[in-house]
């Protein structure tokens, strides 16, 4: 029953927000719906903690892995909604762009993402991932500017094509399952496939074919390097709360889908094949993204490439496997989502006050926007993977895993890339932060919610950096059990 509630609230909220006319009421409805949704997520995670697996009918299922990713979307949803209060004050009026439309599309987007996490059936999983693309395409093109429309169009077409390949992969897996004796009715159910996995060995080359298509398909949504080209445009042109949602949750959602397939294939034909593919894409993404970050000119594009790089690191973590590698990878996705949303919020404030995101034109930020630049500095130190913050812990884990399985080249590449990223971030931000006070057209005013927002992000990062709370570690352990 909790699962249905999880889905129902955002769907109803999307409709309700459309109905109420004035923006004030829409915002209030949206906030209450958001709060309800977060409560439902908390309740669901709590229940999963006790009962292990929740099921509802044939198509909704939630286990340890889902609980972890639900927690992720819950935290980010709270942050984004808090941020959007301040953000909506100055959305340029446009045919579709009013708070009503913004919130309804956002809740639709949340609905589709939660559906992805809850779907028990791989076909259903594909449908929900495709619908996330559709829901977010409108949000990316929300502002009707030339850049936004172009980014939205490219995002829609490239992701749909990519996802089509994932569908082909799902069908191939279905074919392999049916051929090796799984009863067709439940051949796409994840649980059934997991139990029948050893028998899938018979049609091993079909399973390999399916995993290749799935990696390319969902890889496009995750933003692995050869298929990443849509990501910088989409994340840079989307409204800030949405680019935070895209970077922090949508990429994790696609990674979740890939993880589901990876568990099946590694149980069926051993993890050698799938993990080597993940390692290839991971290393490629880390290397190319790190290099591209050096020559970026726009702040949001820089953050988008950093998302590609961190997804690459997570893929390397999964590719190395083992308890430490997987734990590090999952922890890395969570840390990255919090740090990246903090960075996008500060980018949003910079955009509001400086009017531009071109890093060459922004100077004297430290003195004009002290609190925003503090957030930016903390975020960039976290993203560069330096000690006091959580990302250092997860990168430390992944490196330990890499070294203990004596994969020296990958570890070397990872460290070189981290240094290049550190250099790039330092190079860009030290030019933006330093310099004399710039007198802005209108006085920069940060709402109390914005302070709270940045404070919460920093607190999460530092807490995860020093000591992982036992409850959170428990959720992570349960997610690992599912993956093992």
């Amino acid at each position: 029953m909790t699962l249905v509630l999880l889905l129902l609230i955002p769907f109803l909220a999307a409709l309700l927000v459309l109905i109420c006319k004035q923006p004030q009421r829409a915002v209030r409805v949206a906030m209450t719906a958001g709060a309800l949704e977060i409560a439902a997520i908390a309740n669901a995670v709590w229940r999963i903690g006790f009962e292990g697996v929740l099921e509802f009918g044939r198509y909704l299922r939630a286990d340890g892995l889902t609980a972890f990713f639900l927690l992720n979307i819950g935290v980010i949803l709270a942050l984004v909604l808090a941020y959007s209060i301040g953000y909506l004050r100055h959305i340029p009026a446009g045919r579709f762009s009013s708070p009503r439309w913004f919130y309804s599309l956002t809740f639709l987007f949340v609905f589709t993402m939660i559906a992805v996490f809850l779907s028990a059936n791989l076909g259903m999983l594909w449908i929900c991932v495709e619908s996330t693309t559709l829901a977010s395409a409108l949000l990316v093109g929300f502002y009707n500017t030339k850049g936004a429309v172009e980014a939205g169009w490219k995002y829609l077409v490239v992701c749909t094509v990519g996802i089509a390949f994932a569908l082909f992969g799902t069908i191939a897996l279905y074919l392999a399952a049916v051929k090796s004796g799984v009863n067709p009715a439940s051949a796409l159910d994840w649980a059934a496939l997991m139990s029948a996995a050893p028998s899938l060995g018979a049609t091993s080359n079909l399973v390999k074919l399916s995993f290749v298509f799935v990696v390319v398909g969902y890889g496009t949504k995750i933003g692995f390097v050869p298929m990443h080209s849509w990501l910088p445009d989409a994340h840079a042109e989307a409204p800030t709360p949405i680019s935070a949602m895209l970077s922090a949750v949508l990429l994790n959602c696609a990674l979740y889908a890939l993880l589901r397939f990876d568990t099946i294939t590694s149980h069926a034909i051993g993890s050698g094949f799938s993990h080597s593919l993940l390692l290839i894409f991971g290393c490629l993404s880390v290397a190319v993204a790190a290099l591209l970050m050096v020559v970026q000119r726009d702040l949001k594009r820089l953050l988008a490439y950093s998302s590609i790089e961190h997804m690459g690191i997570a893929a390397i973590g999964i590719g190395i496997g083992g308890p430490l590698g997987l734990f590090g990878a999952l922890l890395h996705t969570f840390n990255h989502s919090v740090a990246k949303s903090l960075m996008f919020f500060t980018a949003g404030y910079v955009r509001e006050n400086f009017g531009t995101l071109r890093m060459r034109r922004i100077h004297g930020m430290a003195r004009t926007l002290p609190w925003t630049s503090a957030g930016l500095v903390v975020g960039s130190i976290a993203i560069a993977g330096l000690p006091p913050f959580g990302l250092f812990i997860s990168e430390f884990m992944i490196l330990t895993a890499a070294f203990s399985t004596s994969r020296y080249l990958i570890a070397l590449l990872l460290m070189v890339a981290l240094s290049v990223v550190f250099g790039a971030l330092l190079h860009h931000f030290q030019r933006m932060l330093a310099g004399k006070r710039v007198d802005l057209p209108e006085k920069p005013k940060l709402l109390p919610t914005d302070f709270a927002l940045m404070g919460v992000c920093m607190a999460i990062l530092i807490v995860l950096g020093i000591h992982i709370p036992s409850a959170f570690a428990g959720i992570l352990q349960r997610a690992l059990v599912v993956l093992q």
Binding site: N144, T145, K146, T160, A164, I171, L175, A185, D233, R297
Partner: protein, 220 residues
């Protein structure tokens, strides 16, 4: 009755050939409207195949899926595309980056390639080889159309051909996927096309042209 089943199976095999023909014609097509017509023919052939399989396999679900394909893919989408073409008064030219002859040769190459690609799987899985080959051919053709054609509408048609390919792949499994999933996928593709249509209008408003290759502002 065995004769009729045999006839149905034969019809299924020959239909793959018709699919190949529509692909070749689509490659040679110069105007968008011809591509739309060819697309609807292709979907009609696919619907016939589903009916043949439904008749052979006697599964009610297949009939429902066939009816869905006919209403949406043969009638609704081509009609919508024609209306968009008329509304936008956009030039009908396909503006392909490869000449007609080159396109046809490439399309033929892709069809042959799909046969080789499918060979190892068809034998082990005792599947209907040419149907699986048709699926892969449609997939590769859709991809080729999207890469080579510059017009936004042709991107949409390329995507639809690609999805047809996946649909045919689903058909090669004896009774197709569970109905709910089939309908879900269908509905998603429909939504996808609808949104692309919306974006085509948006591009029209903001850029005053429909040539996708000119959308090059976001670089680096």
């Amino acid at each position: 009755m065995g004769l009729i089943e045999l006839a149905a199976a034969k019809a299924l095999a020959s239909s793959a050939v018709f699919l190949f023909i529509t692909l070749l014609m689509m490659a040679a097509a110069k105007r968008i409207s011809t591509c739309i017509v060819l697309f609807s023919i292709q979907s009609a052939i696919m619907a016939a195949e589903i009916l043949g399989m439904a008749y052979a396999g006697k599964s009610v679900a297949a009939y429902a899926v066939a009816a869905l394909v006919i209403t949406v893919k043969v009638i609704a989408i081509p009609y919508a595309l024609f209306r968009i073409v008329k509304d936008l008064k956009a030039s009908q030219d396909v503006s392909s980056s490869t000449t007609g002859a080159q396109s046809v040769f490439i399309m033929a190459g892709l069809i042959l390639l799909s046969f080789f690609a499918v060979a190892p799987y068809a034998i082990t899985l005792r599947l209907d080889e040419d149907l699986l080959a048709a699926a892969v051919a449609l997939l590769l053709a859709g991809a080729f159309l999207m890469v080579s054609r510059k017009k936004a509408l042709m991107q949409v048609i390329g995507l639809l051909v690609l999805e047809n390919g996946i649909f045919v792949a689903a058909l090669t499994t004896t009774y197709g996927m569970p109905l709910v999933i089939e309908i879900g996928i269908f509905f998603d593709l429909l939504m996808g096309v609808f949104l692309m249509g919306l974006f085509v209008f948006r591009i029209r408003d903001t850029f005053e042209h429909l040539d996708v290759s000119k959308l090059r502002r976001l670089r680096g």
